[in-house]
Amino acid sequence: MGKDKSNVRKSFRAIFGLVACVGVLASVSAAAAQPKPANSCLACHSDLDESLTRQMEGDIHLEKGLGCVGCHGGDASQSDQELAMAAARGFAGRPKPAQVPAFCGKCHSDGAFMKRFNPALRIDQQAEYLTSVHGKLLSQGDQTVATCVSCHGGHGIRPVTHPLSRVYPPNVANTCGKCHADPGYMKSRLPTDQVAHYEKSVHSEALMKKNDLSAPTCNDCHGNHGASPPGVSSVANVCGTCHTRQAEMFRQSPHNASFQALGQAECLVCHQNHEIAPPSERMLGSKEPATCANCHGEGDPGAKAADTMNQSITALAAQLNVAEDLLSRAERAGMEVSRARFGLSEGHDALVSARVVVHRFSAGGVKTETDRGMAIAGKTRQLGIQALDELQFRRKGLAASLVVIALALVAVFFKIRQIERPRE
């Protein structure tokens, strides 16, 4: 009996084993028969977030063939969630803010990898980021500071030259302002009026209204990945990247040493930082609203030099306007004054040059330029007067010709009458 029981148990085990084997084989073959999904990430995640596909539109990574897996890892060919998002398959998931620089840097700091897609692209963004105020705060554990995705976005990252990119020059102020203009987010750590001030500046006017993409926005002065406020002594260097001649003049001026001694931020003393207004002669002189008057008392040598520079530049601008007005009047009357106008453009060059030379704060240097401009303005003014005199001569000549023609007409008319008078 005991032997029988043992046989039955063996038989059950054999049948169970067989059934189990058949079951496993069946499930394996069924799994093998199922089509593998093209992108299982999208298959599930677009159900969870319907906007995901839309968010990815225009994404530079996607265009280069780097889909979800390119950043997040895993295996998009697996329909099974566990398999698709297995750590063994390189799944990294959604990085925490502190992990983002390394997450993006995984590729963007890898020269060999980046060369396959864009050999011209820099690979020092992560290293630069770590030198920025954002990077330093992040490494100190502040999770609220900007990381790569704060500026570039997480999905739908477009190249910087794309007008819809968050870092396309005209969009930069808004991108930075998302945090820096939000008092609730900044929590009194910094003022939040920079974007408002910038929007009133001559730079914003050029970039936003005139669509001059060479005009500076936040990152041109503060840096982009290594964003930080320029130090007091490096302001002239920052402004000088574009305003080369002005910076060079300033370095030669007496203000260079005295501003450094006083700890004044060079260019910003007169021009401010974010709300940089279009410069004018009103800034120059010994009385309000001239910026010189902030430091120089009336009658001191600096104030006198400022007044002298103001007078020579204002006088040149006025003379150029007179010449311009004369040429315009002559031109409107149909006179050919293009050569005189070309000459006048040299006068305008002298005015621009004088305004630049102001940064050396030497009345003599400015006068050299304004004298050159005055000579051109005087010559052009003379040409304008000559053109208007010539116009009067033409008008008088026309009147005289018309009188002669009219007399000839009358004479011919009477001649016809004479020869056609019926003879008696």
């Binding site: 149909g334 006179m335 050919e336 293009s338 050569r339 033409r394 008008r395 000549g397 026309l398 010709s401 018309l402 023609i405 009219a406 000839a408 007409l409 011919v412 008319f413 001649k415 016809i416 020869i419 056609e420």
Partner: protein, 370 residues
């Protein structure tokens, strides 16, 4: 009864006899007696349409001004891409009365084309092309085409931006012709692009080839006008045969018209001197508002309005073909209008003329204000 308004020379005064002696002296040496005789016998019909007879003389007067001012401009103009603009600028600013000569040349050219068109339509509507004046019509239409050629070639000569780009568009048009289009375009441009070679070539057309053609065809046209006399429109034959002598009665009236034209030209040149614009820059982008001279606007506007494709053909090619056939038709009108040839009313051709005139006016206006 035939009435002739005329002037009979009254000799007798000592001055008159001296003049007569001088005339006789010349007559014997130059053999001008037949010409004088012909001029003395030439008459002009007088009827309600006589005014249109003055348009031919007016066009000839404006053409003479073109010749004189053109020769004066030649003294200073330099036909190369490097110097053309500057030389015209020099003429406008530094040459004594250069501005006047150039402005009159440009204004007179435009007025001449205008009077040419009016002259042609007056001849068309009065059916003056009836036998035996078919060749007078043909030479006249050819002269109109040549005048337009003068306008097209002269437009480029100051080498300014607008003319440069308009010429680029204009010389592109012949390309639509199959087989010969590319050759024709290259022939006009002197290469693949509008360059200094085009300017030199256009200068050659403007001052040598077209004037030579004009001299020949205008000579025939004027001879035919003298030979056949003025055409009398249908319906005025029974106007008692009223006529006036060409010399001096009609000629004096012609002179009155020319004096008025001279006054208008002087006023236009002094008040609206012809603009020079900016120097052409082949590497600059095309400026807005490129358009040809006003007398090409109707065809330019037609080509713009045509759809890109009409059935199996390119719209522009069909447009050009249409204009070519239209020009051929217009040239052969005297042979096609059989009713007019028989002295019968030809309302069909009058209607065609009205349609063509309205078409040209409307399309020119659209081109001008669009």
């Amino acid at each position: 009864m035939k009435t002739t308004i005329g002037f009979e020379h009254q000799a007798g005064a000592p001055e008159a006899s001296k003049t007569e002696a001088a005339r006789q002296w010349l007559r014997h040496r130059l053999g001008t007696a037949p010409v004088e005789e012909m001029a003395g016998h030439k008459t002009v019909p007088v009827h309600r349409h006589t005014i249109w007879y003055y348009l031919g003389g007016m066009t000839l007067f404006l053409f003479s001004i073109q010749v004189v001012t053109g020769i004066l401009l030649l003294l200073y103009y330099r036909p190369s891409a490097e110097e053309a603009f500057e030389s015209v600028q020099f003429i406008m600013t530094d040459v004594s009365f250069g501005w006047l000569v150039r402005s009159i040349h440009s204004w007179s050219a435009n007025l001449m084309i205008a009077t040419l068109f009016i002259h042609m339509f007056s001849v068309f509507f009065l059916k003056a092309y009836r036998p035996p004046r078919e060749m007078t019509w043909i030479t006249g239409v050819l002269l109109l085409f040549i005048a337009m050629g003068f306008g097209f070639s002269g437009y480029l000569l100051p080498w300014n931006k607008l003319a440069f780009f308009a010429t680029r568009v204009g010389t592109e048009i012949p390309r639509v012709f199959p087989f010969v289009g590319d050759f024709f375009m290259r022939f006009l441009r002197g290469g693949d692009e509008v360059t200094g070679a085009t300017l030199t070539r256009f200068f050659g057309f403007h001052v040598a080839i077209l004037p030579a053609l004009t001299t020949a065809i205008l000579g025939v046209h004027l001879w035919l006008v003298q030979y056949h006399g003025m055409s009398r429109p249908r319906g005025t034959e029974n106007n008692n045969g009223k006529e006036m002598k060409f010399v001096p009665n009609f000629l004096l009236r012609d002179i009155m018209g020319w004096l008025v034209a001279l006054g208008i030209l002087a006023a236009l040149a002094a008040i609206f001197p012809w603009e020079l614009g900016e120097k052409a820059d082949p590497f600059a982008s095309a400026p807005a508002g490129i358009r040809p001279e006003w007398f090409f606007l109707f065809s330019f506007e037609t080509l713009k309005l045509l759809p890109g494709r009409i059935w199996l053909f390119e719209g522009e090619a069909l447009g050009i073909l249409g204009f070519t056939l239209g020009a051929g038709f217009w040239l052969l009108v005297p042979f096609l209008d059989r009713n007019a040839a028989r002295g019968l009313p030809s309302r069909g051709f009058t209607l065609i003329g009205v349609f063509v005139l309205i078409y040209i006016v409307v399309l020119t206006a659209i081109g001008f204000w669009s």
